[in-house]
Symmetry: C3
Amino acid sequence: MTDFGEDDFFVASLKGVILNINPSARIVDITHRVPSFNLEAASFVLFASFSYFPPQTIFLVVVDPGVGSARKILLAKTKNYYFISPDNGVLTLALEEEKVEQLRRVTNDKYFLPDQSRTFEGRDRMAPTAAWLSRGISCEEFGPELTSYKKLRAEKPQIRGSEIFGRVLYEDKFGNLITNIPVDLLGRLQDKTGKGRFVLSVKGHEISSFVQSYSSVKKGELLFLAGSAGTVEIAAGQESAAVKLKVKVGDEVRIKVKDR
Amino acid sequence: MTDFGEDDFFVASLKGVILNINPSARIVDITHRVPSFNLEAASFVLFASFSYFPPQTIFLVVVDPGVGSARKILLAKTKNYYFISPDNGVLTLALEEEKVEQLRRVTNDKYFLPDQSRTFEGRDRMAPTAAWLSRGISCEEFGPELTSYKKLRAEKPQIRGSEIFGRVLYEDKFGNLITNIPVDLLGRLQDKTGKGRFVLSVKGHEISSFVQSYSSVKKGELLFLAGSAGTVEIAAGQESAAVKLKVKVGDEVRIKVKDR
Amino acid sequence: MTDFGEDDFFVASLKGVILNINPSARIVDITHRVPSFNLEAASFVLFASFSYFPPQTIFLVVVDPGVGSARKILLAKTKNYYFISPDNGVLTLALEEEKVEQLRRVTNDKYFLPDQSRTFEGRDRMAPTAAWLSRGISCEEFGPELTSYKKLRAEKPQIRGSEIFGRVLYEDKFGNLITNIPVDLLGRLQDKTGKGRFVLSVKGHEISSFVQSYSSVKKGELLFLAGSAGTVEIAAGQESAAVKLKVKVGDEVRIKVKDR
């Protein structure tokens, strides 16, 4: 996963490097279209997809606004997976879900390309590290242990009084607005405030169709539902909720229970 | 093939699910850039590419405006291939070319992911079905037999009097306009109307350069030819015919024979 | 690598053809988003990525404004790699880096698809040739030897007086402007003009921050550095230098040494 786009030579260079070291590596693209330097979006896309991959998958995540600076390169081993990325917070959401067993700072230039640029460490340092790791080199080899890694300040949704306060975390290709409010939280709100109908408020709009699937409403009608990432999602029947509502990533979302 | 785009976590989730079930599956992208919910475009792109793939390929086609609704999930076994998709007509053009041997409604949740969302059946039901099928589970296992599948109302080109009437079926990246008029039909028109020069009319424009290849004309000159999908295609030398002609998918195309 | 884009059936058709002939072929995309018919951009992207791939890689490069015309199909065997493309100059920069051992004109229709269109030779001639080559058919089999191949007129950077004159060769996704000035040339300029500070001029702007990495400057500040393709690159801290400077591919770039 990168923010390199697909127009240039960047992604291909990474794949070439990996296959040169491990010709039998299986390479699967998550996406290379993360908005440039957007660590929050990258963190979310990784979070929403990584757990579907087979155990022992190595996730190479190169969204790296600080390339060439003193920021570390991180190798994280969890119960199920490996992650390699700049230590800039991009792993925040994924590592919250996983039991982290080992953190390393990648420094061993024995596993880097011989000629290293200061502008493309994804190709020259991170990709070869991932490839050697896939060949069975143990984590210890790549550099010294770390006790912590950088985390994005990820504001958690909260129940205050009779309302849940959360935020829009991601806008997908269809214009669906994925929030940071876990669907489970709705049950906790009900326990607290009594049974009733959920109503979602965002940017002055009130949406009351809390449904099971996108096709439960007419074309263009606003709805919210339990999204495929496990959180509340705002959508519109076969249209873009983002366009209809003029809502953006970061905007506040509130959910309350209305008496029947 | 999907309409998921490549920005989000959707395609990667499908691939993760497949590789988790069958680590040796070969996954090839047809495209994920079908215009959202556009079944006609999806049907055409599949039609134009599927027959180049090796026998026994499993085509997983997730363009699914009705996700979560009562629409069925379809498994079609043909003489050469397997197809899995929502039963919404997206297979129309491909299945017209193939001898269909078996149709099944995919219902067996033994082969679905344990936690199923109502918003992402591509990931939770169709991808795992494709993966298990690739591991050798037989079609019978996935659900009851069907006697028919949904078809798009695909208007056929017609010869009326001395003219062929067809439509623009697809606009490709280069702005070439692919029609639904099989090249063979031109011969039948000639048999009927006598020898002469073909002339194509579309949106008030008359094009008389019926040539062998794009490079047969000067830059910007309009032409029509036998396209790579086997039908008549309207193009312009190194430019976009769609832009030049202001023609869109669905617009009528007529071809007649002009006396020499 | 192609200029086919990813929306249509073109790339998938090529992959199907290859896998049908050689089911164990490993296919890696370089990019399919070369601007339509842009041989200079294609030549650069190939140049910047090919050497990272494993020895014996077959590069299939289909950017083909002259499809269907008399232009030849070229097979080049170098010390490390194979290249198949229209003979239109698209291999210029890559082949300058490699020791060419054999040039062939691909003509043997035994290795083409049986039904050949005149509009899609990538699918019908070049892809099957690449696939058969990957199965071990020797170069000699594909057609007669050639003594030369078409080259793009690639203007070399020059030192004139106390200045290097070069051009912008490529604009990447981040808006970085990659020039054709090898970083080594800066040392030769210093040898000639004496020690001092490098200053780069482009379209009336003078840039004096010659730094090691993008993160050496503040957000938005202009810089130039040794880019990942081995040439001088103009950039701006986390912004697009192309947008800031209104500079395009082809624009002149000058570098001189200023006395301290």
